[in-house]
C-alpha cells in the first residue's frame, strides 16, 4: 500500500516497499510557472533529510528541491530532463523527479498527510 506524504517545501513522496518516488506538488509547479530545466541527482547519491538534492528552474525563478527523508537515490526521471513541461502537465504523476531507497520509517511520520498539506497550502 503506497504511502503519500508532503513536505513544507512542497515536495511529495510516495513510498512503496522501501522505495520512495519524489516530485514537486501542483501548488509548487503552478507557483514556479513553466518549468524549463531540472538538475537531478544520479543513482548512488546519498542524501539526508533536508539536504538539497535537485534544482528546478522556470523562466522567472529557480528553486532548490530538498530530500524529505534520508536515503540513497536509485534513479532519476530522464523524461523530465528532455521535456520539462511534464512537470507542469503532471507534477504529481509523470513529472516525478527521482526515486530513492528510504532509510527508515521514522522520518516519514514527520511529514504531512495529503489532508494536512491541503490545509497548509490554504494558509499561504
Amino acid at each position: 500500500m503506497a504511502d503519500l506524504r508532503f513536505s513544507k517545501s512542497h515536495e511529495w513522496l510516495r513510498v512503496d516497499g522501501g522505495v520512495a518516488t519524489i516530485g514537486i506538488t501542483k501548488y509548487a509547479a503552478d507557483q514556479l510557472g513553466d518549468v524549463v530545466f531540472v538538475e537531478l541527482p544520479t543513482a548512488g547519491k546519498k542524501v539526508s533529510a533536508g539536504g538539497e538534492v535537485a534544482v528546478v528552474e522556470s523562466v522567472k525563478a529557480a528553486s532548490e528541491i530538498y530530500a524529505p527523508v534520508s536515503g540513497e537515490v536509485t534513479e532519476f526521471n530522464a523524461a523530465i530532463k528532455d521535456d520539462p513541461s511534464q512537470v507542469n502537465a503532471d507534477p504529481e504523476g509523470q513529472g516525478w523527479f527521482f526515486r530513492m531507497k528510504v532509510a527508515g520509517t521514522g522520518e516519514l511520520e514527520k511529514l504531512m498527510t495529503e489532508a494536512q498539506y491541503k490545509d497548509f497550502v490554504k494558509t499561504l
Binding site: 524549463v36 530545466f37 528552474e57 522556470s58 523562466v59 522567472k60 525563478a61 529557480a62
Partner: protein
Amino acid sequence: MRYLPLTPDDRRAMLAKIGAHSIDDLFGDVPKSARGARFDLPPHAGEIEVERTLTAFAERNTPAGKMPFFCGAGSYRHHVPATVDHLIQRSEFLTSYTPYQPEIAQGTLQVLFEFQTQIAILTGMEVANASMYDGSTATAEAVLMAHRITGRKRAVLAGSLHPHYADTVRTMAGLASEIASSPVAPPGHAEDLASLIDENTSCVVVQNPDVFGQVRDLKPLADAAHAKGALLIAVVTEAISLGLVTPPGDMGADIVAAEGQSFGNALNFGGPYVGLFAAREKHVRQMPGRLAGETIDADGRRSYVLTLSAREQHIRRERATSNICTNSGLCALAFSIHVSLLGEAGLTRLAKLNHAKAIALADRLTSIKGVKLSTPAFFNEFTLELPRPAFAIVDALVDRGINPGVRASRLYPREPKLANHLIVAATELTTDACIDAYFKALKETA
C-alpha cells in the same frame, strides 16, 4: 538649469497636490544631524565654461595620434570607421536600457544575438554571451565557471598571461580558488604548464598571443589539461588576431575570455572596454552574463529575448553564476557594427595589414645592432630585447617624440630578467614614416 524642466510654478502646484508645505517636508526622514549639508563645490555652469574646463584637461594629454605610437599590451590603437561611432550615438542605442521589455527592445536584442554569433564564429566556439565588463573580469569569471563545471578549485595561470588579468583573477576568483602561477619565462620561450596540472586542477589559463605577443599552438596544452579532467581557458587581448591566427576553439579551448576593444572602441585610457565570453554549448547553463535567445511572439514572428535568466543574480541571488548585472552593451554594439562592416573579406585584409606592419617594424628595428627579437611567432605585437634597461631607452625615445611601446618591467616590476625587454605593437595605423622615425630614434639611443 538647462537639464531641469520644472519651473517654480510647477513646483508650487505639485507641492500643493502632494499636500506638502515645502520640499523640505519630503526630506523629513533625514536625521537632523545630516540636514543642511554644505559642499565645497562650484555652482552650475553653462556649456561654454564646462567645455573650456574639460578641454583644458584634455590638452594636458598627448593623444596617441600625435606621435609615432607603438603601445599595446592589452589595449590597441585601431581605426574606428565613422559609421560605427555615428550609429552608437543614435538615441535608440545610446539612451535605451537593458532589454527587459522585449517587445520594445528588438533592436538591442537582435544586435546581441548577432554579436553572440559573431563571437562564437571568431573564437571558433559554440556559444557566447552578451558581453562582460572587459577581458580581465571575463577571465576571472571563466575560472569560476571552470570550478562550477569540474567541481575542482585549482587554477593554473600562465606566467605570460597579462599581469593585470592574473591579478584580477587572484582578486575576483581567489577566495574560491587555489591559484598556481607558472613563473614567467623569458619572452618567446616555452612555459611548462603541463607539469602543474593535476587531478585537482579545474583549469589552465593561457593567453594567445601572450602578453609579449608570442603566438603558440594551444593544442598540446589543451590535450594535457583534458587528460587530467581539467579545462583550457584561452585568453585573447587583441581580438583582431582572430582574423588571421587559428582560433582558440580550433585548438581545444573549453572557454574563451577575450577583450573586444580592438573592434569599434577607442583607447579611452583603459575603459570602457568589452569582455567577450564564449564556451561549449554543453556548458551554457554555467555561463555568467546575459544571453539573448531566439523565440516567437504571439503572431508567430521570429523575435529575440533575454533568456536562461534563472542563472543570474536577480533570480538566483546568492547562488547566481555571477553578480554581474550591467554588461558592456554599447561597446558590444560598436564591436558588432565594426565586424559587420568588415566582414570576412575586410577582416582578413585588416589582419594581414596588422601582421605585415609588425613584420616590417620588427625586421627594421632588429637590424639595429644589439636589438633582438624575443618572440619569433607573433601577430601584431612582439617583444624586443634591448642592449640596456628599457626604462632609460623609452624615456629617451619619448623625448624624441616616439611612443615606443610598453616596458615589460612596467608589468613585471620584480622580474630583473625582463628589465631590457620592450613590448611593441603595430596596427593598420602604423605608417612607413612612423617605422622610419622609430628606427632612426632607436638607432641613436640603443
